[in-house]
């Protein structure tokens, strides 16, 4: 092999760098326009694809870009595990089998049935902010809205919500700055889910865990480990993503009064606006595959087993797919963004997330149509740049 000829574009790219987390798009645009494939030495080394065409092709081509190397769909790799996260760390045909277990739960009609309850939840969360004339939109709205929805959707005990939120946050943050803390949180979360599984075994309810307990795959009942795994994935994949999308959208609306009043004045524009906000502010900016064989791509040689990151956030602003990619075009059509991924792993919760966003916009329009960033308290970003979102968003209401 003539390694010397391989045009590897080695960079210092680090998506968890706080400067990148705060302002990722100029960096991603430069990478995408100058080098379709880069390599970074951080976190044990990884490749990064950023163009729409490359990202979508790789996302769907499991024979070359597999999801089934346990722990390597995120950077840095998650804690050592000897079992896959379901269904996210499987390739077809096994992926199809496991995903089909939970498909019925995510049918549009079942998700849509949550709408009135979500309106009620959103209204009750906004009330104290409106009364006070100020508030932290993350702590008081985005976080409890996202956890509350998941609780209702999965039929989990409402009163335990703050605990799940805390575990998920400590697991995500710990993995980049405190592995011991990550382990502890992971253990507490597992014990909690195992406890719920044990309870449901005694007595079924109309909920997610009971459904899994009564499911068979390839002729066997799901194991306790598999059931716990599904539960972990649902909360890990569903919480900080949706809270992040809501917080980033609210921040944008606080800074863009014209766009805000246009959306709020035309309720029928909300579905299309939600889609555009999701395109502009994808909470999963980077998600990974693993080279299933030695690959040659854009002139570089990728070795089997190396991590290939897909920059969904960069693909979403690729001018080859989206005219005026950095502009917010509320009625953009077509708008085939990859905020929820692409292909067989496309986010199972996409309809849930869209519904939460739509409900948020409708309730904001009705209850607090005018708000701005608090000039005395800056928004605070989370530590991670792959699951991007705000940790605090202090807002002031204009009266």
């Amino acid at each position: 092999m003539s390694e010397s000829e391989t045009p590897i574009v080695e960079t210092d790219f680090d998506h968890h760098d706080p400067a990148f987390v705060a302002d990722p798009h100029p960096v991603l645009a430069e990478i995408r326009e100058e080098h379709p494939l880069i390599h970074s030495g951080h976190y044990g080394g990884f490749w990064l694809l950023s163009r729409y065409e490359d990202v979508t092709e790789a996302a769907i081509d499991w024979r070359r870009f597999t999801s089934s190397v346990v722990g390597t769909t995120v950077i840095p790799p998650s804690q050592p595990r000897d079992y896959p996260q379901l269904p996210i760390e499987l390739d077809p045909p096994k992926h199809t089998l496991y995903r089909s277990i939970v498909n019925p739960i995510f049918a549009k009609s079942r998700v849509e049935a949550l709408r009135p309850d979500l309106h009620e939840l959103a209204a009750s969360l906004l009330e104290p902010i409106v009364e006070r004339g100020s508030g932290d939109f993350v702590a008081e709205f985005a976080t409890p809205m996202s956890l509350g929805t998941l609780g209702m959707f999965m039929g989990l005990p409402v009163e335990d919500q703050p605990k799940w939120g805390d575990w998920v946050r400590r697991m995500f943050e710990g993995s980049i700055n405190d592995p011991e803390e990550q382990k502890r949180a992971g253990q507490e979360f597992q014990d909690y889910l195992d406890g719920l599984v044990a309870e449901r075994k005694q007595e079924r309810r109309d909920d997610f865990i009971s459904l899994l307990l009564d499911t068979e795959v390839e002729g066997h009942r799901l194991t306790d480990l598999e059931i716990r795994g599904f539960g972990v994935v649902m909360l890990m994949a569903g919480h900080e993503t949706t809270a992040g999308a809501m917080s980033m959208t609210a921040q944008f609306l606080a800074e863009e009064p014209e766009i805000r009043s246009r959306v709020f004045a035309e309720p029928e524009s909300i579905p299309s606006a939600v889609n555009e906000f999701l395109r502009l502010f994808p909470s999963i900016q980077v998600f990974c595959r693993n080279a299933a064989e030695d690959l040659e791509l854009h002139g570089a040689k990728i070795k089997m087993g190396e991590v290939v990151a897909l920059a969904y956030a960069a693909a979403n602003r690729d001018p080859r797919e989206f005219p005026e990619p950095d502009a917010c075009v509320l009625e953009r059509k077509p708008n085939r963004h990859v905020t929820f991924g692409y292909g067989h792993h496309l986010c199972l919760g996409a309809n849930v997330a869209r519904l939460e966003m739509a409900v948020m916009l409708a309730e904001l329009a009705e209850r607090m149509p005018n708000f701005e960033l608090d000039p005395d308290q800056d928004p605070v970003w989370r530590a991670r740049g792959d699951v991007r979102g705000l940790l605090a968003l202090p807002l002031l209401l204009e009266r």
Binding site: P93, T96, S100, K108, S109, N335, H345, L346, A350
Partner: protein, 66 residues
């Protein structure tokens, strides 16, 4: 042979585009995040059946009676 009947269940389809990758002349993902059947005979039947099999949301039904 008559064209197969290809139906997409809009309640469960999420527009993952897995079918588009396997049978690009048969399926397209429309703006409502659901797959549309543009031409039930757009691709060889084997490809359309493979798309039915591979659909991650089990939204596709292909009927070949004839």
């Amino acid at each position: 042979m008559p064209n197969p009947r290809v139906v997409v269940d809009e309640d469960v389809c999420m527009g993952t585009a897995s079918c588009v990758a396997l049978a690009p002349s048969t399926f397209r993902v429309g703006d409502g995040y659901v797959a549309l059947v543009v031409d039930p005979a757009g691709d060889p039947l084997a490809d359309v059946l493979e798309a039915e099999e591979a659909c991650p949301t089990e939204a596709i039904t292909v009927e070949t009676d004839g």
